[in-house]
Amino acid sequence: MEEKTKRTVRAGIILAFVIVVIGLLIYSRIQAYSLAPTTPPIELRDYPLWAIPIVYLYDYFSHGTICLLFAFTVAGLIYEFVPKEVITKYMGSSKALGYGLALGMAPFLTVCSCTMVPLFGGVLYTGAGIGPAITFMLMAPASNILAILLTGEMISWELAGVRIAVSAVVALVAGIVISKTPWGKAVEKEHQINSSSSSSKIEIVKPPLDERLWAALKFGGYLAKQILPFFILGLIAVGYLEAFLPEEIIEDYLTGVGGVLLASVLGGPLYTPTLVEIVLGRGIWVKEGVILSKGALLSWLMGQPYDVANALAVSRITRWKVVLTYMLIAWAGSVTFGLLYGFLSGSL
């Protein structure tokens, strides 16, 4: 009995913490103050070179801590409570369900890079085959919850929403197209195994609520430890960019049709961890709260799935032809939708 009360109290404390974090975010929304840095570039330019990162980081963290705390807490919680067995149970059953699961589950399962490539392999080997595997692979980095939360908070929620929708379309198209190509089929054949339906071999144990909540927070902390160093480096780079990158250069080269093309090309091979891309994108295209070119920014953000590190990991399992095909489709998607969105929103 005493054990039980202890657990309830512990769970209560953690839940209270979570509620406070969410409450702080809502409060910041109501007060309508910015969660992103606000120092105008002209002011930044007046500081000595060495001081710019300090001023910029201070500026960011004095607003942005709530946003980061919220993002990591929520990412940890979702990852812990999303029913992962669903993947094991249904992934192999049918093609259509495979695609659906790949799209639906990818955002929740891949906040940690170490789970993505194994899942790709697993999906490929089972009945679902190469189509859903590619869809999963492309959907995962483009729309993981951390990336979406930060895109929303740092850039705009409209762009975050568009990003999810568009990534899903591109991932689905790439998956279906590759599963129809001869080289895609060859890879599928080579790797397919007959898994003798295994639901009887899986009996997931669920620990008590307080332990799950604690594990969720710990996972959020782990993510923060992994990502924050890159994030801070990204912010420092952005500090300089904001101070010294003249607006004319962005307007000349990084907006309009040419801007979309350039952004889509830069976004991929230029290897940046997912979250840093968001900060960099903000540094380049958002000037004093106005997005210079929504289209180019979308193209830039969509560059993630075909970056080189991911491609290398996948090419170890599949062949280069498959990797090239999906990179090409992802790139074409990023250009098409960048232009389309820029055109439709009147901000190219």
Binding site: K84, V117, P118, H191, N194, S195, S196, I202, V205, Y222
Partner: protein, 90 residues
Amino acid sequence: MKEVKVEVIGTEPPCMRCQASRKSVEKAAEKLRQSGIRVEIEKANIMSKEVVGKYGVLVSPAIAINNVVKIMGRIPNEDEMEKLLKEAAK
């Protein structure tokens, strides 16, 4: 002496979370040895066709006890592991 087989299923090379899971299993096994339960720990590669064929698509790190996956996508703590292993030895 009772025997329990544990597979720690993770990536190769092991990711940080997989290593942490393995450590929990090892510590629990150490404790149980004193109470007369022998725990055999195996490392399995989540990407291998044997593992996928046997269990299906898993989320790493996963732990299977006596060929049944009990934990997936999270790191168990030592006490929990001990309890699960004890149950399996019964």
